[in-house]
Symmetry: C2
Subunit: 360 residues, 2 copies
DNA sequence: CTGAAAGCGCTTACAG
DNA sequence: CTGAAAGCGCTTACAG
């Protein structure tokens, strides 16, 4: 078969890598057979299988993902979008959980299903414009909270399956979150019942964070039925960062504000900043003020005093998020759209437990 | 236009999302015009542009990434492969730099070029089998060190552009690393010349890590021209983890081994473990033993004493890695294949600088 | 400036 | 079990 008159080579791009045609020719088979062997579909004869595999090996052939995706209608890629830290450069990543959620949870689970993970950072400002583009490159999306309004989420969910981390699911989306309520409740009980503290404050995360809001509400609710009072107000607004936590304490003290007996922080980073700010002013933790966190990141164990906190099942949250998404992508009929995972109170020293005999 | 006899619907997949044909029809234009407007190519009339954009908006059309990639010969995706932590569950991520390198460096730079980042974790065992698959989904790869042999790297580089993080570039690949040599040299000079220490040890990372090897060699070299002695040997082999660092110290002390005046750790995590192990035995840092790290992760500032270390330009390393890769993907003729970025000695308390008057 | 058409590299019914 | 062929949804020379 030498090229005849119809051989009008177009040569748009300098053909670089091998195609399935090269493999088929090398193996003396059709591209259909090559495809079947490579995908384990049909039931190719073992000789066919061997010839294909040998040709693949000899040529170092790697199928093109884009062509597979277009043809099969499945990219085998999910997108994960996290909030970009607002003030890069000052502190470490705003979310030390990123690594863990993505790599240990989502990515591990995705790998088991043969999917890959596309990551993207976005701010509240550019998320609406960046997400559609991502949608085109993936089969489904896992989103950090506070990235999109419920309306925008619902709209996005018409394009492809969407799972959010934290908060209740918007219409058409799914959500995976931890049991903020139980966590804060256990914390407050420990502080009030076990330690006998009578004034508490909740140092919040971003005020529009559903997790932070849930934790605040849980604290209010639990304290109401207890002998403890809650110090609240706008000055107790943090932003999930150590710097934010320190700022709140500094401002409060500069104004002659009053410290509660125990400060329940929205997360560990905040607690870290609070403890630094208190230490700078010679205020002892937990003797004068108890401090607690949320998350149980690694540093929590290295602080002085070690941090009492609530552990989230980070890895499991990531796995669950992917599994929900995957089930939906593959068309599993009905998937639970609102998964709440259990948390665990981790009692260390910063709540006052280091001082023997003080526990009730 | 009602379907005629030629209407033999194949319906392989239940057509789900809109295509460029829907947009073209809605706008009363050809798909070529829609494509041109969407890609800013050619020079469409402003009326054409408007009609397309309106149709896109009204339909919430998002172009399919796989089709674009197949057609344009460019996926606009780079893959980043990191080493999976060996003993998950015990410690925090082995590499706290992951987050920073990927999100602040690579991802940020990729975003500027309109690329996305596919991440994947791999072990030394499964990397060879996982990488080809990733290669099919991306335009280029950024790899952690110790993932592939030089031979395997060279082979992979025939398939697509490859950049490694750390170590010298294998044939056909590119590399971005930090100036381990200058960092360790500055550290040793400070310990020996400024503090007058006369015995040093290097507590290594994984023995096959090019970074760790470079740091070890630099320490040997610098110490040789100084009055200081180096304690070496297989017992000083760590694995970049806090647990590994603690293990080395424990084993040494259990055997009645001798501690040097200063321990230069392969990274901050190791230093953290060493400091914990020493503290447990009542050995004071830096009074009895000085300890230094490498990386300057956030915890370094929160340790007691605060950690003297060498700061790597993490973010810049990520950016550079992507930029090299991008330049190669886009066919920029010749790209520097071995980029070494400068580091900075960060002097804090763990080297002994806290004790006033002790500095030379 | 715009449209008709080819082609990107696969998968998958459809026949044989 | 295997092959020929259509089709996935785009981009891009090529004409007009």
């Amino acid at each position: 078969m030498s090229g005849g008159a119809a051989d009008m080579a177009k040569t748009r791009k300098p053909r670089t890598s091998l195609t399935i045609y090269d493999v088929a020719r090398h193996a003396g088979l059709s591209i259909a057979s090559v495809s079947r062997v490579l995908n384990g579909s049909g039931n190719p004869q073992s000789e066919t299988r061997d010839r294909v595999m040998q040709a693949v090996r000899e040529l170092s052939y790697v199928p093109d993902g884009a062509a597979r995706a277009l043809s099969a209608g499945l990219k085998e890629v999910v997108g994960v979008v996290f909030r970009r830290g607002e003030d890069a450069g000052f502190e470490e990543a705003e979310s030390p959980l990123f690594d863990e959620i993505v790599t240990r949870g989502i990515e591990a689970s995705a790998q088991r299903s043969g999917f890959d993970v596309l990551i993207s950072m976005a701010g509240v400002d550019d998320a609406p414009s960046r997400l559609p583009a991502l949608a085109g490159k993936t089969d489904g999306l896992i989103l950090h909270d506070r990235l999109l309004s419920a309306t925008a989420l619902a709209h996005l969910a018409k394009l492809l399956p969407v799972v959010t981390l934290g908060g209740r699911p918007a219409p058409g989306t799914m959500s995976v979150r931890c049991d903020n309520d139980a966590g804060v409740r256990a914390l407050v009980r420990h502080l009030v019942a076990d330690h006998g503290y009578r004034t508490l404050a909740y140092l919040s995360g971003h005020s529009d964070s559903p997790d932070s809001q849930a934790r605040a509400a849980a604290l209010e609710r639990e304290a109401k039925d207890s002998p403890a009072r809650v110090l609240a107000g706008p000055r107790w607004t943090g932003d999930y960062s150590a710097a934010g936590g320190a700022r709140v304490i500094s401002a409060l003290l500069a104004d002659g504000g009053r410290l509660p007996r125990a400060i329940v922080c929205a997360n560990d980073q905040t607690a870290l900043g609070v403890m630094h700010a208190l230490a700078q002013r010679g205020i002892r933790v937990p003797e004068e003020v108890a401090v607690t966190g949320f998350d149980d990141v690694a540093v929590a164990r290295h602080l002085h005093p070690t941090l009492t906190t609530v552990r989230q099942p980070i890895r499991e949250m990531g796995e669950t998020a992917f599994d929900l998404l995957h089930a939906t992508i593959m068309g599993r009929s009905q998937v639970e759209p609102d998964v709440v995972l259990p948390v665990q109170l981790v009692v260390r020293d910063s709540c006052g437990c280091a001082r023997p005999g003080e526990k009730a």
